[in-house]
Every structure is written in structure tokens, then in C-alpha cells.
């Protein structure tokens, strides 16, 4: 939707121009002849759907687009226009009710969106205009405005950084709410801009807005008097994105380049479209079937009517003359109105009340989620939140789970766990012994086996202290870490609690949280990094001496090399290179004999799910350093292929090192993350991890969550593997895809349909890893034919993998993946779960979006369908709530169709006996009340309270979830069963009474019954049968069920007496006067009612008996009983519950 809006806003001609020119501060530039202020959209964010003016027509239009609503509208209009057997009120009133309720609900939701928009749009910002600071509303920012932002404020639009309060022309930004990366990123001002923004005269030329957060290309022309305009290139490092937050910098000034709906955030935000559940689609399909039945019934009746009437004396016998008007009506018009009349007569087959009941069930049912105390998190003092109640049952149908990593699977809270120095393991002891550990001068490291030499230890710790890009946060206010809730980034060491010295209350800022963890780890062992002062790194060592190292070079981390190094010069003049990185990238570069000692530790740590890093060092001789220094400087200055050249130098320098040790850092998983994931997989769901994070990190998380097992073979499709072959990426991609496809899809033994979802088969498990860059190659391949081919290959591979990991994803890419899976064959139901704003797009895209009430703001929660405090709650939400809701609503839908089919079928059959005259079989009161009063409450209670399997069992046995997979209860087979049942009942009701009425003298005084008695007997049988049928299906009888089921029947009897007991003054005909009472005075009527009810329920009883042994409970039983002891609290109830065919019948015979 936004795209469309965007296109419209941009207009046709501007779309073709692929760059835009921005005049900084709206100052005309000497170079351009004429200053035409270009038109860009304003900075207003619009997420609402309606305005006050278009609400009514637009909403009505949207509502009547629903097939059911439209149908009822038509029926209503027909009843108004044509002379029909039933009054327009019978269908008009429910329709009006449904439409009004829905309109109010949607209006309220839109009002909330308006409010949220206003909050953003009316937010006050400071704009510099002609040297003055003007406070204005955010929505008034225009492209070209110079905006000032203070610390901890979010950027109101996409800005090019012009000026920072920091000395080094940088500023720190956290993009947690955009891509989920909670670290601080450094952004740079445009070089050589004048300090005085007022006199800055410049234009910016940049590309048209595009959603990729990491891409930006632009140029800035700076005009100075009497000088050639200077041109500076602009990259993503100069661009501050809307939604990101300024950190650690007092204030900045920037010029707005993209505003409003054109900002990268807005482009990544997808319009919240109305989500429809699969059940609703099934309902619509069934509705069509019933519509066909309805139309064919009406057609049959109309045809037969005219055939019948063509016989002499039938159309208008002397006793039943037509009125003059009827005689005058055109034959074809009469046929048409007859057809419509039949439609109206049979229209009850499509129940309006079903929509009301379904809505009510969803609305009321969703309260059980909010009420569930298991979802209550004492930490944040909140429980679950339901934003849309439309999707309750979808929770029971999930096939793919897309989860974010940071903050969802993990707590995003790095902790140093252990290290290994020279082959000896050092585990840091917690809590109690912590203080002792610090005090012992001999060695703060608690040893497990033996200790490495003290020198090695210190070298290792120094390496940890030096080899990083961590900065010390200036002036950290005590407890500030907790205050802004971002302890993981600005860690004031508050976590430990036992802070001894005030100077230890320092915060570290780093681009990666594990660097902070490492520095903090070193600090625990006595080496404290004090900060960087004019190229000197200061370290406080164990003896409380400050050591100074001159930082010569930083060889940055990059995902291909997977390591980083620093070159420092110590006081003593030695030049040292410290390097840390992934084992795979370090091991080949150190001496092999050292590797063996450490490899074991590294592998063990990796399998435990820790992120491991190896640390190596190398002493550089003066010549070596000089050479490296020269190489590095040259490469940095290179204008072309800078990256490659740098890489070559890095590789050259980082050789021949000696390995000192390895570290293990834990990104703490969420509580019960692994158990939850296991349960989800056990339930047949495929879990995909979509993260913006680095591959290594994500991979270790996957291992920790047991998504990847030790024997899982990983298929990797990343930039790294693509570049391995040294060929063109496209070719390599093609080759790899085919290779993996062969491995995972073709070579996999063909599995039977029933077992496809089982994941723990004996054959090889595959895990698939792909990164953002590769994904975009797969999805947007240059050749269209290839693209679709790659896509299907990719999908097939993924579908055959137990778990898929997608790393380095932009928010929109996450949504793309979700969309791709969603639209794949079979249309699987997808669920996305995430906690940050970067997950919003995938939350919106998936069938069900779940937000975690995490640390990264509330955007995910706001845009989600359901929000839960913790990941672990997902298990109960899906396995228990989802399962139950699905079963309930599926039964509700089937039952509704069934009960209306057997309601209307006798009426249809009656037409054959009343000359096709549209004579209703039942009284109007019964016609109206049937769905509203007599049969609605029991099914509503059922659909709210039913637990065919109790919650504990559902939670214990994830496999039960598979039984309802793929919409099992709403497929054509069960639908067919219910329809046949409905037809059977309808036929039975009608013909049972028909044969009884072959002699209408049914009372012992010889008096006869008329047509209304006939209808009333049929109706009584009907009401009792459908209610008792539901009673048969109810597995969980609470007092409410009892009350409602028996209450409805009692109400029916009471109502019938009441309705027939009085001459109603407002009725034109007293059709039912004492009909019911007279019926009850007839023994034959009683007998036939009992007989028909019993006969109708017979097939169901039989079916239940025959089906039971295959039911979940029965299967459950042997397992439970064999467990015996530990199950004791429930085992007392179980055997009774699980009683099967055999042990029960022993008591009988």
C-alpha cells in the first residue's frame, strides 16, 4: 500500500530521474542558474486507513467486499422488494448488527493508529533556519532543512550528518529499532564542511529513496566563494536514519534528505494489511458450496413449480384464487421472483449468525490468552497482549516459525564464560567466590586443571585488553546503564553488583557486544582497559600499574576474514600484533603444534553454544613493521580496489602468529529457548532464524538452541562460500544451489506423505545458512528465468532442512523470505516472532506476527498480532492455546453449517408437498430464533471452553499439534462428513414426521394436527438433535456447558409454551396458538420425537466408538501408564480418562 502511495507521491516523471538534488538550508547555489525548490513529500507518517470523511463509504465498501456480507445484503434487498415468505427483519437485523459492530471495531482501531501517527508527527524538533533555532513539529520538516538532534533523541527523518558536538566529527548511533543491532555505530560528518552551518552553501545529490538500510550513495557539492565547488562523496556512514537514536553525543546537526514516507524506515515498514486466517478461507470455500446448494435448491424448486403448475387445475384451483395483481404479472418476472422467494426461504442455510458467533468466539476467546497467568512475566509485570483476535485459530496451524535472534532467542546479553590459555582451561567462578578470586594475587583465574605460566596468562589478558575497538564511555552516570535499559551496550558493570572501585563503573561502547564482554572478562582477571588517549591505549594491570601502548594500526574485522588485529607498540619498544578471530581463520595462521592443545577446548565450547574466539599474537621486527605500515598506508589511500588491497596486506601481516588461547563468550539464551524450539520442531514446525546479525554469532545461537544439532550437516550459501571458488558469484551460486539441492532434496529418501513433517528421521539432518547478500542474489537474479529457478531451488532446499539460518538480513529481506515461504506451494502458515522494529516487517508479513515485549522498544509489540513477554511463552501459545482454538473454531464452523443444513433441508423437502409454494415449514418465530437463541449458546460455550485434550497433555506432547496440521478439521473430507450428516438428519426429520402424518389424527380424542404442528414436531426434533449432537461432541463439560446445553433446551420448551400460550396482538396470524402444548399431549408425537432423535444420533455414537481407539488420548495412554511413578499426580485421573474399548467393556459383560 505504501508503495502505491509512494509512487503516486513521486509522480511519474520523477520516478525516472534516479537522483534527487537537495539544497542545504534551502539556499540557492551559485552554480545552478535558477533555484527551483523541488517538491518532496512532507515528513508526515501515515499509517491510518480512514479519515473522518471517507470512513463510512470506505468501510462499508470494504465490509461488503466480504462475500458473506454481500450475500446477506442481497437477501435483505430481495426481501424488501419481493413478496417473500419471511419478513426482511429476519435477515436485516442481524446484518445491521454485524456491520455496525465491525465498523465500530475498525473505526476504533483506526483511531488508535491516528493517535500513534500524531504522536510521531507532532513531535517537536529543532530546525535551524537562517541561523535561528526554531522548534517545530516533526511533520513540518522539509527536505533540505537543517535539523538539530540532541543525545538520546531519535532522528525525525533521514539526515546527512553535517556537524557533531564531538571533537572528532563523529557521532554514535544505535539502530536497535531499525535492524536490531543494539551496538553503537559511528557515523561521520561530511569532511570539510564549514563549522558555521549558516554560511554553508551546498547541494546534495543523492539517489532516490530505497529501502536498503545499508546502502546510500550521494555527492555533496560545497560552494565557496571564488572557489571551484568541492565535491565530497557521501556513503551510508554519513546518513543518519530516521528511527535511530543518537547516543553518546551531545548534539548533531544534519540536513534532511529523505522525509516522511520516503525515509528508509518507512520504506521498510509495510502497511498492516488485513490478515485473514486459513479458517476464514475455509469458511468462504464452504460458503460457496452452500451457496451452490442454495441456488440449486431454489432452481429445482422453481423449475418443478412451473412444471407442476402446467398441469390443469393445479396452478389456480377454485379454492385458491390469485389476486388480480398476481394474475397480471409477467410470467418471466413471476418466475424470477419465485426464484428469489425460494432463495430467501432457504437462505438460512448460510447462517448470518455464524459470522456473529465466530466473531464473538474470537473476541471472547482471545481473553483467555490475556488472562493466562503462565504468560505473566514478573519482571515486566505484564502478561500477554492480543492485538488481533482474528487469528487465534491460526496459532494452531503454524508450519513455519521465523524467529529473530537478538532479543528473541537470545537475551542479547554477552557474558564472558571461560578462557583457555595455552591449553589450560580457566573457568571464571561466579557469585560467592568472585571476591576471593580478585583478592588472590597469585592468580585471579581459578584453575581447573593446571595453570599456564604466568607470562602466558598475562600476555593473553593483555591481548584481550588491546585487541578490540572498544571505547570507554565518558562520564558514565552511576546506574545509568539500568536507567536507559541498555545495559548490554553501555554496561556500567552494574550487573555484577559488587562494584568495588568507582573507576570500575565505566561503560564500554563497541560495535559488537562480545568485544565488551571480552574486555570485561579481562577486567575480572585484573587487566582493566582504561581507554584510548591520543593513540595510546591505557591498561591497568594486576599490580595496579598503568601500562601504555601506542596503537599503530587496527586491522578491522570483516566477515570474510573473520578476524581482527591490532598493532601496538609497547613502552619497551616492542611492536606487537594481537589478533583474535574465529578458529577457522586463526588456526591456519599459527603453528600447528599449538593448535592441537586448544582445538579441543574450542570445539567443546562451540558445541555448548558459546561464541569462541581464538587469540594469537606475533612480535613484529622493525623491518616487518615498516613493511606492513607502508603496505597499509598505501592500501588505505588507494582509490580503486581499496578493499582488495587492504585485504591482501592484512593477510600478509597476519601470518606466522603464535596462538595464546581461546575465549568463550555466551550470548545468554532466553529462558527455555532450547526447550521451546525443540517443542516447536516436535510439533512439526520448521524454525527459521532470520537475523541481521553476523553469521558466526547466529550460528552459535542456533547450536545453543538445538536448532542445529552436532550431526547436522550445514549447507552454507554465503558471500564467503560464493567467493571460495574464485569464480563469478553468479556461477558459483548456481553451482552451489544445484549441489545442495542434490544433497538435500534429491538424495533424501522419498518420504511418505504422512511422515514428511517428521524431522527426526534417521537420515541426515541438514541445516541451511544463507546471508542477506546472497539472498538478494537468489531473489533478484539478473535473469528473470534464473531468478524463479533459483528461488524454487532455494525453497526446496530450505524445506528439506530441519532449520534454516538467514543472517545479515535487512528488515525488508526478512519480510521477503516470509513472503516467499508464505506463497510457496501449499501456502503454509507462517509465524514470525521478534522483538525489535527490524522485525516489524516480517511480523506484518507472516500469517501470525508475534511480538516479544523485549528491550528494544515497543514497535514490534504494536505491530504484532500477539505479544508475549518471553520466548518460552510461545510454546503454550501455540501448542495449547493455538491447538484448542483451532479445534474449537473448526468444530464451530462445521457444526454451524451442519445445523443449518438440517434446519433448512426439511423446509426444502416440504416444498414438494405444498405445491412448491414457498410455504415455510416452521413458524417465523422459530425461523428467526433457531440460530439466535435455541442453538447458538451451546456452540458458543463449546467453542470457548472445549478442551478435547487437556492443556497439560497438549504441552507435554508436542506431536499432538501435528494432528490438526494443514487445516485437518476443515478440509473437504470432514466437511463432507458433516454435510452428509446434515442431509441424513434433515431427511430423517422430515420423512419421519411425514410418515407419522399419513394419519394426522394423532391425539387420543381423534382430533387432527395441521401444518404448523407438523413443523413444530420437526423443529422440536431438530433442536434437540443438534443440541444433543453437540453434547456428544463435548469432551469437557464444565458447569457452563451443562447450564447452556440443558438451558437452551429448557428455553426452547419454555419459549414454545410461551409463544403458543398467548394470542399475540401484534401478530397477524396466531399460527402456533397452543400447537406446542397440543403436540405434547399426543403420545405419538412424543414417541416419534424420541425415535428420531435417537436414530439421528446413532451414527454419531457409532462413529465415536469406532474412532476412539485411534484418538489422541488412547494413543497417549500406554506411554503414560508405562511411565508410572513420576506421573502420579495425574495418573489417578488418567486411566479413567483413557479408558479404552477393552478395559471398559470388562465391567459390562
Amino acid at each position: 500500500m505504501l508503495r502505491r502511495r509512494l509512487n503516486r507521491l513521486l509522480g511519474g516523471d520523477e520516478r525516472r530521474v534516479d537522483s534527487r538534488t537537495i539544497y542545504v538550508g534551502h539556499r540557492p547555489c551559485p552554480a545552478t542558474e535558477a533555484f527551483i525548490p523541488p517538491k518532496f513529500c512532507d515528513n508526515r507518517i501515515v499509517s491510518s486507513k480512514y479519515t473522518v470523511w471517507n470512513f463510512l463509504p470506505k468501510n462499508l465498501f470494504e465490509q461488503f467486499r466480504r462475500i458473506a456480507n454481500f450475500y446477506f445484503l442481497i437477501i435483505f434487498l430481495v426481501q424488501v422488494i419481493v413478496d417473500t415468505p419471511t419478513s426482511p427483519v429476519t435477515s436485516g437485523l442481524p446484518l445491521f448488527f454485524v456491520i455496525t459492530v465491525t465498523a465500530i471495531k475498525q473505526g476504533y482501531e483506526d483511531w488508535l493508529r491516528h493517535k500513534a501517527d500524531n504522536e510521531v508527527n507532532k513531535y517537536l524538533v529543532t530546525v535551524l533556519e537562517n541561523g535561528q533555532k526554531i522548534r517545530t513539529e516533526s511533520e513540518k520538516i522539509k527536505v533540505g532543512d537543517v535539523v538539530e538532534v540532541k543525545e538520546d533523541e531519535t532522528f525525525p527523518c533521514d539526515l546527512i550528518l553535517l556537524q557533531s558536538s564531538r571533537d572528532d566529527d563523529t557521532c554514535f548511533v544505535t539502530t536497535a529499532s531499525l535492524d536490531g543491532e543494539s551496538n553503537h555505530k559511528t557515523h561521520y560528518t561530511v569532511p570539510d564542511t564549514e563549522k558555521d552551518l549558516e554560511s554553508l552553501n551546498a547541494t546534495i545529490e543523492c539517489e532516490q529513496p530505497q529501502p536498503d538500510l545499508y546502502k546510500f550513495v550521494g555527492r555533496m557539492h560545497i560552494y565557496k566563494k571564488d572557489q571551484e565547488p568541492a565535491v565530497r562523496s557521501l556513503g551510508p556512514e554519513n546518513l543518519l536514519l530516521k528511527g535511530a537514536t543518537l547516543k553518546n553525543t551531545q548534539k548533531i546537526c544534519g540536513v534532511a534528505v529523505y522525509t516522511g514516507m520516503e525515509t528508509k524506515m518507512a520504506l521498510n515498514y509495510q502497511g498492516k494489511s488485513q490478515k485473514r486466517s486459513a479458517v476464514e478461507k475455509s469458511i468462504n470455500a464452504f460458503l460457496l458450496v452452500y451457496l451452490c446448494i442454495l441456488v440449486s435448491k431454489a432452481l429445482v424448486c422453481t423449475t418443478l413449480k412451473y412444471v407442476w403448475q402446467s398441469e390443469p387445475g393445479q396452478d389456480e384451483p377454485w379454492y385458491n384464487q390469485k389476486t388480480q395483481r398476481e394474475k397480471d404479472t409477467n410470467l418471466y418476472l413471476k418466475m424470477f421472483t419465485d426464484f428469489l422467494s425460494f432463495m430467501v426461504l432457504f437462505n438460512f442455510i448460510i447462517p448470518v449468525s455464524m459470522y456473529v458467533t465466530v466473531e464473538m468466539q474470537k473476541f471472547l476467546g482471545s481473553f483467555f490468552i490475556t488472562w493466562d497467568k503462565d504468560f505473566f512475566d514478573p519482571e515486566i509485570q505484564e502478561g500477554a497482549l492480543v492485538n488481533t483476535s482474528d487469528l487465534n485459530e491460526e496459532l494452531g496451524q503454524v508450519e513455519y516459525v521465523f524467529t529473530d535472534k537478538t532479543g528473541t532467542l537470545t537475551q542479547n546479553n554477552m557474558e564472558f564464560i571461560e578462557c583457555c590459555i595455552d591449553g589450560f582451561q580457566y573457568k571464571y567462578r561466579d557469585a560467592g567466590s568472585e571476591l576471593d578470586g580478585f583478592c588472590v594475587t597469585d592468580g585471579p583465574v581459578s584453575k581447573l586443571q593446571q595453570k599456564a605460566g604466568r607470562e602466558k596468562e598475562e600476555l593473553f589478558l593483555r591481548a584481550l585488553c588491546l585487541c578490540h575497538t572498544v571505547q570507554v564511555k565518558e562520564s558514565p552516570g552511576p546506574g545509568q546503564g539500568q536507567a536507559d535499559g541498555l545495559m548490554d551496550q553501555v554496561d556500567g558493570l552494574g550487573l555484577g553488583g559488587e562494584v568495588l572501585r568507582p573507576e570500575e563503573q565505566r561503560g564500554f561502547i563497541a560495535s559488537s557486544p562480545d568485544e565488551v564482554a571480552l574486555v570485561k572478562g579481562a577486567m575480572r582477571y585484573g587487566f582493566t582497559f582504561l581507554g584510548l588517549e591520543s593513540k595510546n591505549m591505557k591498561i591497568l594491570n594486576r599490580n595496579n600499574d598503568v601500562e601504555m601502548y601506542e596503537l599503530l594500526h587496527v586491522l578491522n574485522f570483516d566477515p570474510v576474514r573473520r578476524r581482527m588485529s591490532v598493532i601496538v607498540r609497547s613502552k619497551s619498544g616492542d611492536t606487537l600484533l594481537f589478533c583474535k578471530g574465529a578458529d577457522s581463520s586463526i588456526f591456519p595462521r599459527v603453528r600447528p603444534e599449538e593448535v592441537d592443545r586448544i582445538r579441543m577446548h574450542v570445539e567443546r565450547n562451540a558445541t555448548e553454544g558459546y561464541r569462541t574466539l581464538c587469540v594469537a599474537y606475533k612480535q613484529l621486527s622493525a623491518e616487518e613493521y615498516a613493511q606492513a605500515d607502508a603496505g597499509l598506508r598505501e592500501a588505505r589511500l588507494a582509490l580503486q580496489d581499496r578493499e582488495e588491497k587492504l585485504m591482501a596486506v592484512y593477510n600478509q601481516v597476519e601470518t606466522g602468529m603464535s596462538l595464546i588461547g581461546a575465549t568463550a563468550v555466551e550470548d545468554r539464551l532466553q529462558e527455555e529457548a532450547a526447550e521451546t524450539m525443540e517443542a516447536l520442531q516436535g510439533a512439526g514446525m520448521k524454525v527459521w532464524v532470520l537475523t541481521g546479525d553476523k553469521m558466526e554469532t547466529a550460528k552459535s545461537t542456533c547450536y545453543a538452541c538445538r536448532l542445529f544439532q552436532r550431526n547436522t550437516e550445514l549447507l552454507e550459501l554465503t558471500v564467503r562460500t560464493l567467493e571460495d571458488g574464485g569464480r563469478k558469484r553468479e556461477e558459483r551460486l548456481h553451482e552451489l544451489l544445484l549441489d545442495y539441492h542434490k544433497k538435500a532434496v534429491q538424495d533424501a529418501p522419498p518420504v511418505k506423505a504422512g511422515v514428511t513433517r517428521s524431522w527426526s528421521t534417521a537420515n541426515q539432518d541438514y541445516g541451511f545458512i544463507i546471508d542477506g547478500a546472497t539472498l538478494s542474489m537468489v531473489l533478484n537474479s539478473s535473469h528473470d528465468s534464473n531468478s524463479s529457478r533459483y528461488k524454487s531451488l532455494f525453497l526446496q532446499i530450505c524445506q528439506n532442512c530441519t532449520a534454516v539460518l538467514c543472517c545479515r538480513m535487512a528488515p525488508l529481506q526478512k519480510a521477503q523470505i516470509v513472503k516467499m515461504v508464505k506463497n510457496s506451494k501449499g501456502g503454509p502458515i507462517t509465524l514470525s516472532i521478534g522483538d525489535g522494529a527490524n522485525d516489524v516487517s516480517m511480523i506484518l508479513e507472516a500469517h501470525v506476527g508475534i511480538g516479544i515485549k523485549g528491550k528494544e522498544g515497543r514497535q514490534a509489540v504494536r505491530n504484532s498480532d500477539y505479544a508475549i513477554p518471553k520466548l518460552k511463552h510461545l510454546k503454550k501459545l501455540l501448542l495449547a492455546h493455538g491447538h484448542l482454538y483451532y479445534v474449537r473454531i473448526a468444530h464451530l464452523v462445521q457444526y454451524f453449517f451442519y445445523k443449518n443444513l438440517c434446519f433448512i433441508l426439511p423446509q426444502f423437502l416440504y416444498q414438494f408437498f405444498c405445491g412448491y409454494s414457498q410455504q415455510p415449514l416452521y413458524d417465523a418465530a422459530y425461523l428467526t430464533m433457531y440460530n439466535i437463541c435455541f442453538t447458538s449458546m451451546p456452540i458458543l460455550a463449546y467453542s470457548l471452553l472445549e478442551q478435547h485434550i487437556c492443556i497439560e497433555v497438549l504441552l507435554d506432547n508436542a506431536t499432538l499439534y501435528r494432528e490438526i496440521a494443514k487445516n485437518a478439521m476443515l478440509r473437504w473430507r470432514p466437511f463432507f462428513y458433516w454435510t452428509v450428516l446434515g442431509v441424513f438428519h434433515g431427511l430423517l426429520f422430515f420423512f419421519g414426521v411425514r410418515y407419522l402424518f399419513s394419519n394426522p389424527a394423532l391425539q387420543d380424542n381423534g382430533q387432527v394436527f395441521g401444518n404448523w404442528s407438523y413443523g413444530t414436531i420437526v423443529f422440536t426434533v431438530l433442536v434437540f438433535t443438534v443440541t444433543l449432537k453437540l453434547a456428544l461432541d463435548t469432551r469437557h463439560w464444565t458447569w457452563i456447558n451443562h447450564f447452556v446445553i440443558w438451558g437452551s433446551l429448557a428455553f426452547y420448551v419454555f419459549f414454545s409454551f410461551f409463544w403458543g400460550g398467548i394470542i399475540w396482538p401484534f401478530l397477524r396470524q396466531q399460527r402456533l396458538y397452543f400447537v406446542f402444548a397440543n403436540m405434547l399431549s399426543s403420545v405419538s408425537a412424543w414417541l416419534v420425537i424420541i425415535l428420531l432423535i435417537l436414530l439421528s444420533l446413532l451414527p454419531d455414537i457409532l462413529l465415536v466408538v469406532f474412532r476412539k481407539p485411534r484418538g489422541p488420548n488412547a494413543r497417549q495412554k500406554p506411554v503414560e501408564s508405562s511411565m508410572g511413578g513420576p506421573q502420579s499426580p495425574r495418573s489417578s485421573a488418567r486411566p479413567l480418562l483413557m479408558r479404552t474399548f477393552s478395559d471398559e467393556s470388562n465391567t459390562v459383560i
Binding site: 505484564e382 405445491g915 407438523y1014 399426543s1082 477393552s1142 467393556s1145
Partner: protein, 368 residues
């Protein structure tokens, strides 16, 4: 007995309420009530063969005797049906049916002799039956004005438009209006017993008690309250088009005249099916010693007024005794016997299956 258990799931009660800071922010924490936690104590019945099997046998054992009883009762009911439409040339009413005209003032009568092979011991109910007469046609069913029939003066003079085209005639409101009233059955049936020695004895026919009590006493009321002068009450109205006499001349007995005439009320209760019977007269048993209708020769004398030839209808006279279950109808008895047998049979089948299945199940348990 149903295999069931009361699953008291709320036993963990309020133990888990406490938590860090639970007291201060109590309002945010979901209530720990059994209902909100979906832990209401529930009865969880499971239908198993064990519960259903005896039910089948019991149903079988109850239904079969009931069915037999019903069947026997129905068979004991004596019923005699005489079609007097007069379609055949040989039929005594052939002439009447052929020479029918709405305007004829002279009633056409015909006499149908019949022989009663079995004596009718108890009260005998006399019905007339019509076939192919669509009293349940929508246009017909709605063509009445119940407020008029309930004695409403306003409705008497302004019949509802549902009565069209029988609402007004010659600018006068029709009382009673509508197609149903207009087409009221007006044949007169009389029954004579032919003594073995040839004398014709008229059998007294009772015309009270043939309509529902509530209809006669509540639903149908003459206008003007208890005013016995019905002629005055119906002043300003006209008789239905096809009637020979106005509504206030239906009977001489004021308790059975006007709208509360029982023949009229019976006719106004529209039949469910196009072939129907309506109660016409009751022949009360006088003496416990003599049967109501002894074996022998009878004649049925019909004043033939009601034309059915135009729509190929049939007219019948039915004499029937009545039991506690109503008139003769073997359907219920047969149905009960059938269903009872099915249940019994199913019970046996289930028992057999259960034995086989039960053994298998046991072995499965052991392997586990």
C-alpha cells in the same frame, strides 16, 4: 455408566499467586481464577464401547416391545374408508359430481351403501378426507385474518389484505374472509344403519368436540362478545363467495354458530399435506353392551356440494376408532421395531468386534 472423571484441575488454587512484587501490581497480573485459567472443573465423558454397548442393548430391549405394542394397537384400530368422489360411472355420486354447478339451489344427494364386516366397539370417529387439495399452499395458508376470527370488530369490517382476493365482495367485507374460509368443506354426511330386517336407523352424529378446545374457546370468538344475535353482529358483512349461507347460519345452536362453529374451526386448521383427513363427527358409544357400530349394512348419505373434480381431488369418508396413540398408523410401530432391532443387532456386532479388538488391545498394552 459413562466412563468419566471429574477432573478437578483447580486444585493448585491460589498457591502460585505470590511472586516478586506481586502484591504491588496486583491489578496487572491476570486473576488466577479457574475460569480465566481454563481450569474449571469438568466432567470428561468418553464414549466407549463399554458405555455404548449396554445402551444399545437397553435401547433394543425397550424399543422392540414398544414397537410391538404400537403395532398391535395400530392393528387393533378399526378403520373404514369410503371414496365417494364419484369418478367412476358406477359410483352412486357420479351424477352429482358431473352435474355440479355453483349456482344450483337444489342440493344433489347420493347414497352409498356399504357393509361393515367387523363391529366397531368403542367410540367411532368420522372423518372426511380430501386428496390433492393443497391446504398447505402458501397463498392459501396465509389467506385468513386471525384477528377477525378472534372477534375483532375492526378486523371484521376491514379484513386484512392477506385475505385477498377474498377480502371484499360487492364492497362489503367478507366474514370470515380469506381463501381458507371461502373453500370450507360443505358436504353433509349422514350415516344410516340398515337393520337386518330392512329398517333404516339414522346413527346420531355428535358435532361437538371435534375441534381443539383452545381453538373453540380462545382463538375463535364471535364478534360482539356474548351477543346471541349473530345476525346483528355480522351486519354489514357479506358471506364468503362460495358459501350458500352466511356464517351466522351455520348452525342453530348458538354455541356452535358463527366463528365458533366447530366444523369451521376444524377446516381453518390447515392440513400439513395435500392428502389429509379432518374430523367430522363423533359417534359416541351409548351402551357398553352393544358395539357402537355393529356388523351389518349401512348407507352413507351425502349432500354433494363440494367440487373436487377440477383439481382431480378425491373425497373420502373415514370411520375409525381411536387408541391412545391416535388413529391407525402402522408407521410408528414398524419404526420402533426396526430401530430396536438395529440397536440390538449393532450391540451384537459391537460385542463381537470388541472381543476381537479387546484382545488385540491387550496384547498391544503388553508390548508397551
Amino acid at each position: 455408566m459413562m466412563a468419566s472423571s471429574y477432573n478437578a484441575k483447580d486444585e493448585d488454587g491460589h498457591i502460585t499467586v505470590s511472586g516478586p512484587g506481586g502484591g504491588t501490581l496486583k491489578n496487572k497480573k491476570p486473576d488466577n481464577t479457574a475460569f480465566k485459567q481454563q481450569r474449571l472443573p469438568a466432567w470428561q465423558p468418553i464414549l466407549t464401547a463399554g458405555t455404548v454397548l449396554p445402551a444399545f442393548f437397553i435401547i433394543g430391549l425397550i424399543f422392540i416391545p414398544i414397537g410391538i405394542g404400537l403395532y398391535v394397537t395400530s392393528n387393533n384400530i378399526k378403520e373404514l374408508e369410503i371414496d365417494y368422489t364419484g369418478v367412476d360411472m358406477s359410483s352412486p355420486c357420479f351424477n352429482c359430481s358431473q352435474n355440479f354447478s355453483w349456482n344450483s339451489t337444489r342440493p344433489c344427494t347420493c347414497t352409498i351403501p356399504f357393509y361393515l364386516e367387523q363391529a366397531f366397539e368403542s367410540n367411532v370417529f368420522m372423518y372426511y378426507g380430501l386428496s390433492n387439495f393443497y391446504q398447505n399452499h402458501r397463498r392459501y395458508v396465509k389467506s385468513r385474518d386471525d384477528s377477525q376470527l378472534n372477534g375483532d370488530i375492526e378486523a371484521l369490517l376491514n379484513p386484512s389484505k392477506e385475505c385477498e382476493p377474498y377480502a371484499r365482495n360487492e364492497n362489503k367485507p367478507i366474514a370470515p374472509c380469506g381463501a381458507i374460509a371461502n373453500s370450507m368443506f360443505n358436504d353433509t354426511l349422514e350415516l344410516f344403519y340398515i337393520d337386518p330386517n330392512g329398517t333404516k336407523i339414522q346413527i346420531p352424529l355428535m358435532k361437538k368436540g371435534i375441534a381443539w378446545w383452545t381453538d373453540k374457546h380462545v382463538k375463535f370468538r364471535n364478534p360482539g362478545g356474548n351477543n346471541p344475535n349473530l345476525t346483528a353482529v355480522f351486519q354489514g358483512t357479506t358471506k364468503p363467495v362460495n358459501w350458500r349461507k352466511p356464517v351466522y347460519e351455520l348452525d342453530t345452536d348458538s354455541e356452535n354458530n358463527g366463528f365458533i362453529n366447530e366444523d369451521f374451526i376444524v377446516w381453518m386448521r390447515t392440513a400439513a399435506l395435500p392428502t389429509f383427513r379432518k374430523l367430522y363427527r363423533i359417534i359416541q358409544k351409548k351402551n357398553s353392551m352393544i358395539p357402537t357400530l355393529p356388523r351389518g349394512n349401512y348407507t352413507l348419505e351425502v349432500v354433494y356440494n363440494y367440487p373436487v373434480g377440477s383439481f382431480e381431488g378425491r373425497k373420502r369418508m373415514i370411520l375409525s376408532t381411536i387408541s391412545w396413540m391416535g388413529g391407525k398408523n402402522p408407521f410408528l410401530g414398524i419404526a420402533y421395531i426396526t430401530v430396536g432391532s438395529i440397536c440390538f443387532f449393532l450391540g451384537v456386532v459391537l460385542l463381537i468386534i470388541h472381543h476381537k479388538y479387546g484382545n488385540r488391545n491387550n496384547s498391544a498394552d503388553i508390548t508397551n
